[in-house]
Symmetry: C2
Subunit: 254 residues, 2 copies
């Protein structure tokens, strides 16, 4: 009888100088292969030395080949190949760790545009959010190549977790975190008013789908729904702009 | 002798439901022609009626043709053609009007990515900024098709002005506005600290190039340089995330 063949781990391309250099700074051993064009190669000496030490492939290629390897024109002159990072499970221990560290969290409810996920992760990383939680939902964009590129290195500072469903997860998370959701309907408090009233527990900020916002069952679990007040012009902020305002207000200023 | 032929005004395509429907709500007479695919056409009845009244062309087309008309796959099912909007000049009267209205302003110093310009305009419009000022500089992205699409209607609420050079313009603007620039270097105040010290005049927020930030000659004109404090992870916020934080802090909450 033949031994079962282990399925090959899927690989993803990390593109762009900022994303690749941060990857090398934070998780250098994850890099399996590195490709770059001539101008970018001039800055990549240190990366190449490290790969050479570990007997891994690095290579300068023509622009056309780099585009083919990257699968996109938006490669920024450099592409690092890593194994796809599986989304983590939220165990009892993980929950206990977040509670102990009073870790601010970010939950995404079907944010469907990968560029938005990348932009949100860059902002979340900047302000010190360490974990992003998403649900098993076909509309949710996952941290793939586009999101990594737009995050400009932010992906190396946050960990992605996946839960079966956000409402059930939030019923649990509420014990240790204060759940802040956004809503465009109703007469909600502004972020400033929410802050004035105080947060009894560390914040978990919940961002919803670009069109539909947060699902009603999830909104029902929130400790507080809030609305960013605007000037009655465009209907809403982009979700990544809302993330910037809320991370600044509830994570960054603490 | 022939009469001189007037140069034909350049046209631009406004793409996507949000951008087009806001265009019709705010500046309907600007629309010269309208194209849409079958599913989007179902929602476009009111727009078509208006165009019919004014003897203008509207037409449902096949997806391939719509992509050709739009010049992009990102047309969102609908394309309105308008004449290009010239950037306005800042006259004495304009300056006096801003001073009288205490209008918050946004200045862009070589923000080079059109998607960033669009995202910034959406956020600025949301918070009630009425004017965006850019300089005559080849690196500055102008409000073209990509920026309109990403702004999702925000372009219909802000006016774009062009000045020969920002430092000279700021020397003038300082008399009526408090110039807030961002800086990654030095030991700058945070936005919250700037606010605590008070703004003696309405704010003019200055955002810089994605790589280089604000030019030194422009930074020298600022009444206050500030730095959004982060968690020592990624180097900086994306310029549109910084715009969201600063517009929220200095325009939105007033």
């Amino acid at each position: 009888m033949k031994a079962p063949i282990a399925p090959k781990q899927k690989e993803i391309n990390i593109c762009g100088w900022q994303a690749v250099s941060t990857l090398f700074a934070r998780h250098p051993t994850e890099v399996r292969r590195l490709f770059f064009d001539a101008p970018t190669g001039k800055r990549a000496g240190e990366m190449c030395r490290l790969l050479a030490q570990n007997r891994k492939v690095y290579r300068q290629v023509e622009p056309a080949e780099l585009e083919k390897i990257a699968g996109t024109v938006h490669h920024g002159g450099i592409v690092a190949v890593i194994g796809e990072r599986p989304l983590k499970k939220v165990t009892r221990e993980v929950l206990a760790g977040w509670a102990k560290d009073r870790a601010p969290l970010l939950l995404l409810d079907r944010v469907s545009n990968a560029n938005n996920v990348g932009a949100i992760v860059r902002t979340a990383a900047f302000f010190g959010v360490k974990a992003v939680i998403v649900a098993d939902h076909p509309q949710q964009a996952l941290p793939g190549e586009a999101a990594h590129r737009v995050a400009e290195g932010g992906m190396e500072f946050v960990e992605f977790y996946r839960v079966p469903a956000l409402p059930e997860f939030c019923a649990e998370l509420k014990r240790t975190h204060f759940l802040l959701g956004t809503s465009l309907s109703g007469n909600q408090l502004s972020p400033a008013q929410v802050k004035e009233r105080g947060l009894p527990r560390p914040p978990a900020i919940i961002l919803g789908n670009e069109e539909k916002g947060i699902a009603p069952a999830l909104a029902a679990q929130c400790d507080r729904l809030l609305k960013i007040p605007g000037a009655d012009t465009v209907e809403s902020l982009n979700v990544s702009a809302a993330a910037a305002v809320l991370c600044w207000e509830f994570v960054g200023k603490r």
